[in-house]
């Protein structure tokens, strides 16, 4: 491309903002804008801004609801994201944030109470959740909790792991907890607990050891949880 006049350069702002420039022209045009007189660069960026606002308004005409599972997958993915920032100061902040994030997630499922199965992502790469999402046999199951809210598990038997997402679940009565159980034939293993404080509008936990379990069941248990289910199963999700 030969160097355009100022007016020709500003005229390219429209295809630029519409992402309609060929890749091989893009870098060149950006360089010309950077080198252009201030008023030309300003006219270019005004046009870009205006086209983008116009197309944002236009998006009302193409709006379509995405499937509900996308929200669960996304929240699960976000909860397992390592935080990446560039400068050294920010990197320190990011480590701190990751710790806080992991801690916040850790309280969702009572790790200490159960001793199995629930590992939350911190810095290992790729994370358990990433591996689950990338697994060839990844599946999603979702069910309503009778007292309100939904539970969704994204899981992979190949990776022996799953990600549990709870949305809008009502807290358990005082003095009790919700407890999750992995069921495989006669074998029932605790997969963690949630108390009233830990049930926020949306909570996420990684189930790191689903093995060959065929179901994830939920019960109400007294105190801080039980070694075997004592309450009625009020919800279950099939992991087959």
């Amino acid at each position: 491309m030969t160097h355009p006049t100022d007016a020709e350069l500003v005229a390219l702002a429209t295809p630029y903002a519409l992402h309609a420039l060929p890749d091989d022209e893009l870098a060149e045009i950006e360089r010309w804008v950077a080198e252009a007189p201030a008023e030309v660069a300003e006219a270019f960026s005004d046009e870009v801004r205006s086209v983008r606002e116009t197309m944002a308004a236009l998006s009302a005409s193409t709006a379509v609801e995405p499937p509900a599972e996308l929200r669960d997958r996304l929240l699960a993915a976000v909860a397992s994201e390592p935080v990446q920032l560039s400068s050294r100061r920010e990197r320190r902040a990011s480590r701190w944030r990751s710790v806080v994030l992991a801690a916040a997630a850790a309280v969702v499922v009572g790790l200490a109470a159960v001793g199995i199965g629930v590992a939350l992502r911190s810095h290992a790469t790729p994370s358990t959740a990433d591996q689950v999402f990338a697994a060839p046999d990844v599946r999603t199951v979702s069910g309503d909790i009778p007292t309100g809210g939904t539970a969704t598990v994204v899981f992979s038997h190949e990776k022996h792991a799953g990600v549990l997402v709870m949305n809008n679940v009502a807290p358990p009565s005082p003095g009790t907890v919700y407890q999750m159980w992995l069921i495989n034939g006669q074998s029932v293993t605790s997969a963690g607990t949630m108390d009233a404080k830990r049930v926020s509008p949306s909570t996420t936990a990684v189930l790191s050891n689903i093995g060959d379990s065929t179901e994830l069941a939920f019960t109400v248990e007294p105190g801080s949880g039980s070694t075997h289910p004592t309450g009625q199963v009020f919800a279950k999700l099939s992991l087959i």
Binding site: T14, R49, S50, M55, A63, V64
Partner: protein, 199 residues
């Protein structure tokens, strides 16, 4: 009193201003890794993003993947949103459109580049929208504004924006010289902007 009117009764520009300030506040919290704010931001914008991506990619599987990538990018880079450069919705949809177009250009599959798709087909599916931010008269106004363009202007927007062609490809497709295509694009955008009252 304006402040007491329900959101859907406000004039369009005031409604957009209200949405902008809500989304702006949410993005500030997302930049601090607030998952609840992120979920709310998603809920306010998901239909627009998914709708645009689907319009460009025309494949449900690719569209879901791309939408997920877009929101992960929002999560990772909310702090890079520059208030001075435009509204949060424009920032988000620019990012979404870039991703969708990159995906279209990288896919060689004929199903994604179906040139037989009618160029004039800009009518939206009217029944699939449940997003609170979008109210019917806003949609109607946008559709009316699209209808006010000339057929050739609409065709340009269709090919460049929704089918992801470059202006050079649009010129080849329509056997029309580059200068004409560029001015048609500019006139189309100017017409839409004036009709929609975008600043």
């Amino acid at each position: 009193m304006t402040a007491l009117m329900p959101a859907d009764r406000l004039p369009l520009d005031e409604r957009i201003a209200a949405v902008t300030s809500d989304l702006d506040a949410l993005l500030r919290r997302v930049a601090k890794r607030d998952v609840e704010a992120f979920a709310a931001f998603y809920d306010h914008t998901r239909a627009r993003v998914f709708g645009l991506v689907t319009r460009v990619l025309r494949d449900p599987g690719y569209s879901e993947e791309t939408t997920q990538d877009i929101y992960l990018q929002v999560w990772r880079s909310a702090e890079s949103y520059d208030r001075g450069a435009g509204s949060p919705m424009a920032w988000l949809l620019t990012l979404a459109h870039r991703r969708a177009v990159d995906r279209v250009r990288s896919e060689q599959a004929a199903s994604l580049r179906d040139s037989r798709y009618a160029a004039a087909n800009l009518d939206p599916p009217v029944d699939q929208v449940a997003e609170a931010v979008i109210v019917l008269d806003e949609r109607r106004q946008v559709v009316d504004c699209l209808g006010a363009l000339t057929d050739m202007q609409r065709e340009c927007i269709e090919l460049a924006y929704y089918q992801g062609l470059t202006y050079v490809e649009v010129s080849e497709r329509l056997s029309t010289n580059l200068a004409t295509i560029k001015s048609r694009m500019r006139d189309a955008l100017r017409g839409l902007r004036n009709c929609l009252g975008v600043q």
